[in-house]
Symmetry: C3
Subunit: 150 residues, 3 copies
């Protein structure tokens, strides 16, 4: 199955890509690598706010991470035109808006990681770092940046 | 205008590059990419301390981020000799020393992003992640690392 | 001396590489670069927990960072078969589980940086960012990700 057949089988529609809210661009390509800017979690088009360990459960954070993965795929598609051209999802950096005690960032991050593997197969298996941060722009609960190889 | 004419028009003088205070180097080149170590904000040669959301305002943080951008340009110049050789500012990672409530890291980061675009033009348009961290070495208010393409 | 003679002279035995506890892989190679996933500090096979500025001293954090450097070398070896093939340790990202007041992340990170320089010599001199985070998966005190060049 192509990437798009897999997305369809999962009932995932890639959203339109909004321009960043600040003075930067959503992606930069250099050689065969493409660097995608940090994407924050959104719900109904607005920042998905809240802190893990307080307002949000691990399950909700995982869902937020999955929603970012979909937005990242939309940006990847805007960047290269065809997701089937992705040779490898290289690395995710997963930032979880956390209280000083919450320590399940890896489970939150799985929401994105599992979707990349599901949609891209072996090419979706990536290196990753996940950790808890003090805050995220606009109060969003999760932020993810990505490096992919073409 | 060359990069140096733009810097002069902005009255920006690149500072001397200090060696890092720890066991690492200011930059590493690999292929066409150059990885610049995280630079902390300084004022009058000392760490520019304070936390966003407490001692410092967003405007002050933005100013601190801009001052780091100048230091990063100085390091880039030390690394490659001529800033006109930069093909692209690829990515910034912007760490903002934040209280658990402060969520304007993107506005702070703009202090650096806007200067790179102003000085490097299209080649200065970069991918970026910005987020709030619990602390920064020596209590500095902002830290930025950079990837550039030659 | 080869890398392995230096490790032996330091009485360092590379541990077995455990699979990650989540939906990702320990490393991804793209071109001449290898991206190693964030490794958390472990003690006696379990997460080395605690926060810098509270339960742990800077010296303990530095020791934890050094232990992660050994684990990262083990993963590098698993990835490429022979550590002598490493052309350069390019960059470390060092995350220190910190209270809002602890600001010696650079001293903690030196535990890893100094060992890389000791074992790899000039090829071990790397770019680096270190900062304090709100938490780390499983409550670990330090997490480090690495980029190396072959």
């Amino acid at each position: 199955m192509s990437i798009y057949e897999k997305l369809k089988a999962r009932n995932i529609t890639l959203p339109q890509v909004d321009p960043p809210v600040a003075a930067f661009v959503p992606f930069v390509r250099t050689g065969n690598l493409i660097f995608i800017s940090g994407h924050i979690a959104k719900k109904d088009g607005k920042p998905w706010t809240g802190k893990l360990g307080a307002a949000l459960t691990t399950a909700q954070g995982k869902q937020a991470a999955q929603s970012i993965a979909i937005d990242l795929m939309a940006t990847l598609q805007a960047a290269i035109g065809d997701l089937n051209k992705i040779r490898r999802i290289v690395k995710l950096l997963v930032l979880v808006n956390s209280t000083p005690a919450f320590n399940e960032q890896h489970l939150v991050a799985n929401g994105a990681s599992e979707l990349f593997v599901e949609i891209f197969g072996e090419r979706g298996a990536h290196a990753r770092s996940a950790f808890g941060v003090a805050q995220i722009p606009l109060g969003s609960c999760v932020e993810i940046e990505l490096i992919a190889e073409l």
